[in-house]
């Protein structure tokens, strides 16, 4: 056995490495495209992947970097579906940073922004009752309300992750994922092997862009009527289940308001702005919310005790009257008009505030 200190130079397999590598790379390219072509031929199509914690962490970093001009959206799925980022940018000239996370409470993110001395931009926070009250959920399985994984990725990012190389890393990986069908999780090597052992090919995921011709587009997905009904029931059930667990009550509410105000105070204290928004709901979900979280006892108390600007969809004619197809989210078309109306209100409030400040 050669000694470990023996020179590896003396043991390099002597061959025409240039030739080896040229053939290898050519063959590799052919194999790669054959693999891609095979799956496309089998009917696989790219579906956008949900964003991961690292991508979120980079956007969160952008919020700090942009300083005063940063407009940050935080909240749960409603902020993702109801506020159209492109429409917002078109109207204001500023593209907001979308930090919303589905089924998640924005409170830890608001607090994280408040702790960040370098952040002095504007926060638009979707104040969704179910999730905002679920910052410390009694049943995390039922209500995945904590964005811990995402905040952890932000807190633990390494020094270089603020730099170009990591952006390049994420962008290249995303580009790969968005370009090649074989990057879909259904076509991971382990899944392909697992299915091959059973003598079959991996199943195609349903493509939301093609599976329903006349479905309703909510966020990046399209739902058919039966699914919409199921979603309505799901949202109602989650809300009721959560309420039954007694996570929030009018007695506990002032404490939450205090927590929110502490975070708001910190951001506004250094020149930033916070806007708390209650986004539209409809149907059964609206009834449940009004029954268990009456506006007078909750929202109005919050509005009276916070220094943040507050916008409730029922208080503004241009925001009221929207019907959510699944009771909880606006579809794509409605989101565009809703966003434009919301921006107008924000702009009016801003002008009024400036006029008030001048009078003082």
């Amino acid at each position: 056995m050669p000694s470990y200190t023996s020179s590896s130079n003396e043991r390099i397999p002597v061959t025409r490495w240039g030739k080896v590598w040229i053939f290898a790379v050519l063959l590799f390219v052919v194999m790669l495209f054959a693999w891609e072509g095979f799956w496309r031929w089998q009917g696989f199509r790219r579906i956008p992947a949900p964003r991961d914690a690292n991508q979120w962490a980079l956007m969160r970093k952008d919020a700090s970097r942009q300083g005063k001009k940063a407009i940050v959206l935080i909240g749960s799925s409603r902020v993702l579906t109801d506020i159209d980022v492109e429409a917002f940018a078109e109207t204001t000239g500023v593209k907001p940073i979308q930090l919303g996370l589905s089924a998640s409470s924005p409170l830890p993110i608001l607090q994280n922004l408040a702790q960040d001395e370098s952040f002095d931009g504007t926060v638009i926070c979707d104040f969704h009752e179910v999730y905002i009250y679920a910052s410390n959920p009694s049943n995390p399985e039922q209500v995945k309300a904590s964005p811990d994984e995402f905040l952890k990725a932000y807190e633990e990012r390494s020094f270089l992750e603020n730099w170009l190389p990591t952006k390049l890393e994420l962008e290249s990986r995303n580009l790969l994922k968005e370009t090649f069908v074989f990057q879909m999780k259904e076509l991971s090597l382990s899944n392909v092997i697992r299915q091959a052992v059973r003598g079959r090919l991996p199943e195609k995921p349903e493509d939301p862009n093609t599976r329903v011709k006349n479905g309703r587009a909510i966020g990046s997905e399209v739902f058919e009527d039966s699914e919409i009904e199921r979603l309505k029931k799901y949202f109602a059930d989650v809300t009721i289940d959560f309420i039954r667990k007694g996570a929030m009550s009018p007695e506990k509410f002032p404490r939450l308001v205090e927590e929110v105000e502490q975070a708001v105070g910190k951001i506004q204290g250094r020149g930033g702005k916070v806007v708390l928004v209650c986004l539209p709901m409809s149907g059964r979900l609206l009834e449940i919310n009004e029954q268990y979280f009456p506006k007078k006892q909750y929202w109005d108390v919050l509005a009276a005790n916070t220094s943040a600007q507050t916008i409730h969809f029922t208080e503004h004619q241009s925001l009221a009257g929207y019907i959510c197809d699944d009771d909880s989210h606006l579809d794509k078309n409605k989101a565009v008009t809703f966003t434009k109306s919301l921006v107008e209100i924000l702009y009016d409030n801003y002008k009024n505030k400036q006029a008030e400040d001048k009078t003082k």
Partner: protein, 477 residues
Amino acid sequence: MVFNSITFLIFFAIVLLLHNLPLPWGIKKTNLLIASYIFYAAWNPPFVILLWITTLVDWFVARAISNAQSKSRKRMLLLISVAGNLGLLGYFKYGSFILESFVATLNYFGINYHPAAPSIILPIGISFYTFVTLSYTIDVYRNEVPPCKSFLDFCLLVTFFPHLVAGPILRASDFLPQCVTPKVANSQQLGWGFFLMVFGLFEKVVLADGLVAPVADKLFQAASELGFWQAWVGTFAFAAQIYLDFDGYSITAIGAAMCLGFVFPDNFRFPYGAIGFSDFWRRWHISLSTWLRDYLYISLGGNRKGVSRTYVNLMLTMLIGGLWHGAAWRFVVWGGLHGLYLVTEHWLQGIVSATTFMKYNFVRIQMALLTFLLVCITWVFFRADHLSDAWQMVSAMLTFGTPAKSFADYNVDKGEIRSVLLVVLTLLVMHWKLRDSSLEQAVGKTPIWAKSMLLAGLLWFIVTVQGDNRAFIYFQF
């Protein structure tokens, strides 16, 4: 920065480009040094200061040792280096462990002591670069290596990025002579260096992360409740994972260094083809095992002070070797088991002559399999989250433990089990077949078209597999 990232590919491409520009050798070495600091700082910049401290202490101490006239002064200077290096390692790596063990001992005797939990971050690679600098100073003390004349070369020895965070642990005598004359890889070195990098990444990304690590993770999460088969499958999965992960890293490091014209020592020699434990440790993490042999076992007296003392020295070396891997009792048990195996093997060699049996291939295979299975048992302590989990898992492996749940309950399906068994079986066969050979020889015998096909296949697997992009296991040590 990890090797299995696009960031590293870009970084390495820039370093390679700079290294091949027509610049003076001193500038090229400075470029490599700066690149190495950037590589390390990518994780946490302030800890570069630790690297500087270690480098400076050993640079000055080694020179002072060389200039010292008296033996006692030399010894005192060596003690300063050992205390400095082990002090840093002790604080950052073992601070929390020592405090926890101290508190547990006090609590055991009914003394209620609950200090605030220390918040100590373990600097990545500290165990590796500490051993590099320590070996240099000891070599100078022993007059085996002259003190390095170039501070730049010494900094590069400590910091050169391919080995910095997970080895192989370099020796001054191997590396410093390579810094004297300009080094740029020739076409053979470049071809083979890139081949090694692709091969190493294949081991890590495809086999370790893609096929075996998910099974090991799922089963070790439930280590305390596994049945016989589940415990063995989990252990086999981890045995394959740790080899493929660490060998993958080492081979990539050797390949990267070779592309820059430098030669690194081998770190693995088909360890799962080993017959017995002395043989295993000549094949597993060779740069560490030889370090422990040369600077610990021999310093303790080695086998020069009688049989009993040899056994004690072996046990001590392996216990410390275990603790080197991590600040936890389970690593001590892991080292202790290996020490016990080595002592038993030495004892048996003293009373039984194995040469007659060992000439039969059948017996040799049986012994290699027994060695592998006994090594697998030690891996349980290495991987389990808690010592108690490890004991329960080993107990299930040795006593045909009845499973509380099925594989499916742990989200492990038949395809995954077959993948693990296939990977382990392939490793065993390959390691046995190549145990007296080397990767270089195996590839050397392959025709050009087969080399191209192999490379294309490896590249294809690396790009198409979708692992979790995990860090290398040995980064935590």
